[in-house]
């Protein structure tokens, strides 16, 4: 028995409609970005107090998503779990696409897009997280390409080497992304835990998205998928979620406990719309309900239950990314401890941020680009296996002996 890969037919109406939707998203995003470049970033609603907005949220979200995909490919590549070999190709392809999406999101957010391709690579600042991270991201994309190549040509040894490398590199990528915020000077950013909790949330969201992707794709294209494979992933997701909750608890308990950070913690936890995202979006919808669904015997052992939990996690982690980026910006830096600024020409107190339609269009555009590339890959590359099932013991030994 051998695992065969094949592309999808891609001539159904649904496929064409999907591609058309993605393409129109991409076009809309392109027009929005062009408009922003022409008129300046003020049209996106960002301002001097809240200089980062939705695009940065989406960038860290996408970069996080790519982690989980890589974990799933690593189950085969690093740990040699043959059952998960069918998902390896699609997982690596997705990991690459999500990193491209992250880079695109950052790119479209820059004030001077014309300089982004030259200056950062000519004048390099080793002290800046923004200088280190693009190198990590581009390296990650290249490693993913090599990984895909190894998988396509069935190079067993190269696969395991590159998979391990990609695994380690992904940790660096997510730590680096977390460090953009964690090493920052803002009260609500500054936290050595942030890079670590970023890795945990990345694992959770990525695994959840891969579960959705795998189940969706296999069901739509009517391929065989054994429930046990998904149930095991569900358990892995549950553990990731527990780690996320643990990190969230430690970080916020620390902020609420230390006297000088208490005001900031109160603002973070009970200070406005972002608190709603935190409590309802992240804690309840993103963590507690999925954890319950995954550990409860009746739902945790069914694909339906796991898929619902995964969808909630994917949403919850988006909220998590939002509460990483924005409260830290809207919370004012304290210039005069013990004093209050009553009058100023700038906004000095707590600032407000609201999404604008242009930012949403830009984010949709990035989504459209990678969606299109994903659909394209499904049709023209042999990414999907013909089936994914639990292997019998003699099959496993047979494959291993053949590969030797």
């Amino acid at each position: 028995m051998d695992i065969k890969f094949d592309s999808i037919e891609g001539d159904s109406t649904q496929y064409r409609l999907m591609m058309l939707t993605f393409a129109s998203f991409a076009v809309a995003g392109f027009i929005a970005t062009w408009y922003v470049i022409e008129h300046g970033l003020w049209v996106t609603g960002m301002n001097n107090r809240v200089p980062w907005g939705l695009q940065i949220v989406m960038a860290v979200y996408y970069i996080g998503l790519s982690a989980g995909s890589l974990v799933i490919s690593g189950l085969y590549g690093v740990f040699g779990k043959l059952e998960y070999k069918p998902f390896a190709r699609i997982a690596v392809y997705l990991a690459m696409l999500f990193l491209i999406a992250g880079l695109l999101s950052i790119l479209t957010d820059q004030g001077r897009i014309d300089r982004v391709f030259v200056e950062p690579f000519v004048y390099f600042n080793l002290q800046s997280m923004f200088s280190i991270n693009p190198i990590l991201y581009i390296g990650h994309i290249l490693i993913c390409l090599l990984y895909l190549w190894a998988l396509f040509y069935e190079r067993k040894k190269l696969t395991s080497v590159v998979a391990t490398l990609a695994f380690g590199w992904a940790f660096c990528v997510h730590t680096g992304t977390g460090a953009i915020f964690g090493f920052g000077a803002r009260v609500l950013y500054e936290s050595p835990l942030l890079p670590a909790s970023f890795v945990a949330a990345a694992m959770a969201s990525g695994t959840a998205l891969m579960i959705l992707m795998i189940v969706g794709l296999f069901r739509i294209t009517k391929r065989r998928l054994d429930d046990e494979l998904i149930i095991w992933l569900g358990r892995f997701l549950a553990i990731c979620l527990l780690v996320v909750v643990y990190f969230m608890f430690v970080e916020n308990a620390y902020r609420a406990y230390v006297v000088e950070l208490r005001d900031a913690a109160m603002y973070y936890l009970f200070g406005g719309l972002h608190s709603l995202f935190f409590w309802v979006g992240l804690i309840v919808i993103g963590c507690f309900i999925p954890i319950f669904l995954l550990f409860y015997r009746k739902t945790g052992k069914t694909v339906r239950g796991i898929v619902i939990a995964s969808a909630l996690v994917v949403f919850g982690v988006l909220c998590e990314r939002y509460v990483i980026v924005l409260p830290g910006l809207t919370h004012p830096p304290e210039l005069f401890p013990g004093m209050e600024i009553t009058e100023s020409l700038l906004q000095e107190g707590i600032a407000s941020y609201s999404l604008s339609i242009l930012e949403i269009l830009q984010a949709l555009g990035v989504f459209g680009v990678i969606g299109f590339l994903f659909g394209w890959g499904l049709k023209y590359l042999k990414l999907l296996p013909t089936e994914a099932r639990i292997l019998k013991h003699y099959e496993t030994t047979e494959i291993i002996s053949r590969e030797k």
Binding site: G40, N47, G111, N125, L345, Q347
Partner: protein, 246 residues
């Protein structure tokens, strides 16, 4: 040597040489050539003292002077206005007495500037004479410096301003970050910054700019003998803007 081998060797050679050159560039780009003997900035350390006892709470001459000198963009909307120097009113209680002060705030030209530390292209950097300045030709507009600045002193050109009050001096296109540069173009040719001149002209004479490395300078006398304070000294950024009576 067959073709395949040739391609392999050539490719390897190109990769090695290319990455080597690139690595050299990266490593050598980490420090601006501070040892250049013809560099006129070495040895100086510009600093500023603002005397809040002399500063008039209702006067905005320095703000206007700064805006017209440096073509700082202004639209009348506090979200996108840029103020290289701005005045804030602060209130607080010391003991049981309520105190109220008006403080001009500007870039503190820190000795350990967090904004320069995070700039991915070294567009923001500390000049050899201590002025923290933005190379607007290089800034990519990532706004990381605004996040890093603990003083809220940096602003971004969100919007183009059509006014051009000082035609001899450049303004900034939209998409780059900026902050007070202590009127480096004036200091370099021996003039005092625009805000200092405006403050002298209005009679308050509250702002003083001078060389902190020069032992005989007025600014050195004030900072070493009078009780000066800097904003958020606890952060370790070592600001070079001192306040009297804060």
């Amino acid at each position: 040597m067959d073709r395949r081998d040739f391609i392999k060797t050539a490719g390897g050679l190109i990769l090695t040489v290319g990455s080597g050159t690139y690595a050299f560039r990266i490593l050598s780009a980490t420090g601006v050539s501070a040892s250049d003997p013809s560099n006129p900035l070495i040895g100086k350390k510009w600093g500023m003292v603002i005397d809040l006892n002399k500063c008039r709470s209702d006067c905005t001459d320095c703000l206007t002077a700064c805006r017209t000198e440096n073509n700082v963009s202004y639209h009348g909307d506090s979200r996108w206005d840029n103020h290289w120097i701005r005045k804030v009113k602060i209130e607080g209680e010391v003991g049981h007495t309520k105190i109220e002060k008006t403080v001009p705030l500007l870039c503190n030209h820190c000795d350990n500037p967090p904004c320069a530390q995070v700039c991915p292209v070294k567009a923001t950097y500390k000049r050899d004479d201590g002025i923290v300045i933005v190379d607007h030709h290089r800034c990519i507009g990532c706004r990381y410096c605004m996040i890093a600045c603990p003083y809220n002193a940096r602003q971004f050109n969100f919007k183009n301003d059509d006014d051009w009050p000082n035609a001899d001096h450049p303004k900034r296109s939209h998409g780059v970050a900026e902050a007070c540069n202590l009127c480096a173009h004036r200091l370099d040719v021996g003039q005092m910054p625009a805000c200092v001149e405006a403050c002298q002209k209005c009679g308050a004479n509250a702002i003083l700019v001078g060389d902190l490395n020069d032992r005989k300078s007025e600014i050195n006398r004030i900072t070493s003998t009078l009780p000066v304070k800097r904003i958020r000294e606890d952060l370790g950024t070592e600001p070079k803007v001192y306040y009297l009576g804060l």
